[in-house]
Symmetry: C2
């Protein structure tokens, strides 16, 4: 072990609106040796994610925020340094939930061994990590559109949406992606091979959406909520299934939105169109991780699933990297590489 | 066979607002003899149901209306008069979907033999028929509250709601019923033994609801929609499951309701409370009918399930009986007895 101090970025203040650098503080805490059953590991790759804003408080989430003075939780790729747990040995690569700190200590229950079948190591935090599992659980556990049926994916160029869309294409669905801007729409059509893609920023969005959905939709993987969801409601077919995986459009949602009230219309569609809507908690489905990896890791290793990621070097750059998510600088899944010698795979 | 003419009440006009007597017409049509594979049966008990208004057109439903000049469809209890189908013999009692006519002809695929295990015959059109199956499917297939969890049932004194509530009580749930007026609330508390009952017509409804749900709700069996659903949204617990079985409050729903818009709030609860909402089509679950009967028929026969029904005598009184549903005269499941000699069981 290189040091007996553990550097952490802790939440120092509850943001008002957007998070800023001063809401974080770099602290050093003494590092305990592992007790019986415990594993000490060193983080090599740290995931930086938009939902971490929710964990800081004063956010749209209903989840309780992280206590002030505690490090930001989140996924990491780590290497085991010391182990008093029979399931792990020094040198093992693991995925942890230890977040923005250099070291972590665990009883092993929240660690998973990295087994990427030849895919790059960084994929363990994105397309083969929590993000990918989210897309896979939504598609495989809650949506059941049949080949030939139409799936709509919102925020389809995002990391969750783009995997959901690609899995659906492989299943033989007709997939329509929605994203903002010509660049993303071209990416969906030309790189991901979706059947159609619609730019929600376009002034003729409503007309284009109707043209893209001549037969309505049988499944919706929604990452956006708000006006986008409402625009899609008239297209719900009988027995449509819907997963609500994000509500990006509602991050600043203050409580009750301006009318008209579209809720009664949605309730009627449950009754007369027999639809289902599901939210889900990804941790409830961690047991599926091996099944997910078995299906998706070979596709990633073979280049059959496309994804994008952005690496930032240096532990001390974590808060600035986090800012990138909210100021338009970010392109693809954001990962901080703590140790520049960490191999790509 | 008593006659070679078949009397039918057909839909003669699309109602504007409430249905009226002149929207129906009594017609007589020649009765064909059964062909190979077919069954000819005579209706003895005919079900009169609120959703039949939806089948007349100009209604809140999105389902296509019945063609003008055709008889109103719906459940009946019938006796087989002639059979060229090996599965049915003259004298067999069956449940049909032939609706408001004296005779019906079927290939047998939509007929089910009556097997009530000692329960009264009229129950086949209510608590042991389509109505009961609706409650049972909602409870058994879509809600999964555990003993000790809280279920809310709206329109709990109605025929679907009261069975759902009683099944849940037998499962060990804490059951809170919502209904309109002191008489119904007393019925829920004293006759059905619910843990609490709240009068939505009471001026202190919101306060009473909060008192009845100190731990929130884990499951909701909703027959009402509209404002009632919105009043319940703040009480949804993590992982709550919801069945939308009716939207009585929205029968006159014109399209878009006055604001504020509560839809974004609901979408957020999917995401952060991991809830599920289901609509379902009862015909998709007809294969469950034997399982449903096996569970519920003995309870009805033994008097362990309470239900109320109202019998009207005489085929010619069908349209007037239908009016009762909408002018406040009706008490309990409404059935027209065509043949006064039909035994009760």
């Amino acid at each position: 072990m290189a040091s007996s101090l553990n550097r952490q970025f802790v939440i120092a203040a509850r943001p008002q609106g957007k998070a800023k650098l001063s809401d974080f503080q770099l602290t050093q805490r003494p590092l305990s040796a592992p007790q019986d059953g415990e594993v000490l590991f060193r983080n090599q790759l740290i995931s930086i994610d938009p939902y971490q804003r929710n964990l800081m408080g004063n956010a749209s989430s209903e989840l309780p925020p992280v206590e002030l003075g505690q490090p930001m939780p989140g996924p990491t790729v780590a290497v085991v340094e010391q182990s008093k747990n029979a399931d792990f040995a020094p040198g093992d690569r693991v995925i942890s939930w230890s977040g923005w700190q250099e070291y972590g200590l665990s009883d092993g229950s929240d660690l998973q061994k990295v087994a990427l079948q030849g895919a790059p190591l960084t994929a363990a935090l994105g397309v083969l990590g929590h993000t990918g599992l989210t897309a896979w659980v939504g598609m495989r556990k809650f949506l059941n559109a049949k080949p030939g049926g139409t799936l709509v994916v919102t925020a389809a160029a995002g990391s969750v949406g783009s995997l959901a869309a690609q899995l659906a294409k492989r299943d033989g669905l007709r997939v329509v992606g929605i994203a903002g801007g010509a660049e993303k729409v071209n990416y969906l059509r030309e790189q991901l091979g979706l059947d159609d893609a619609v730019d929600y920023k376009s002034p003729d969005f409503a007309e284009r959406l109707a043209l893209a959905l001549p037969q309505g939709l049988d499944a919706l993987f929604d990452n956006v909520g708000g006006d986008m969801f409402e625009a899609l409601m008239p297209f719900f077919n009988l027995h449509a299934r819907i997963v609500i995986c994000g509500t990006i459009a509602q991050y600043d949602f203050p409580g009750a939105a301006a009318g008209p009230n579209r809720l009664p219309e949605l309730l009627k569609s449950f009754l007369y169109r027999f639809i289902e809507i599901h939210g889900f908690a990804v941790p409830d489905h961690f047991a599926c991780y091996p099944d997910f990896l078995a299906e998706v890791a070979p596709l990633v290793a073979q280049g059959k699933i496309k994804y994008s990621e952005e690496l930032v070097d240096g532990f001390e750059n974590i808060p600035d990297a986090f800012m990138r998510l909210f100021d338009g600088r970010n392109r693809g899944k954001l990962i901080v590489r703590v140790d520049q010698d960490t191999p790509a795979s």
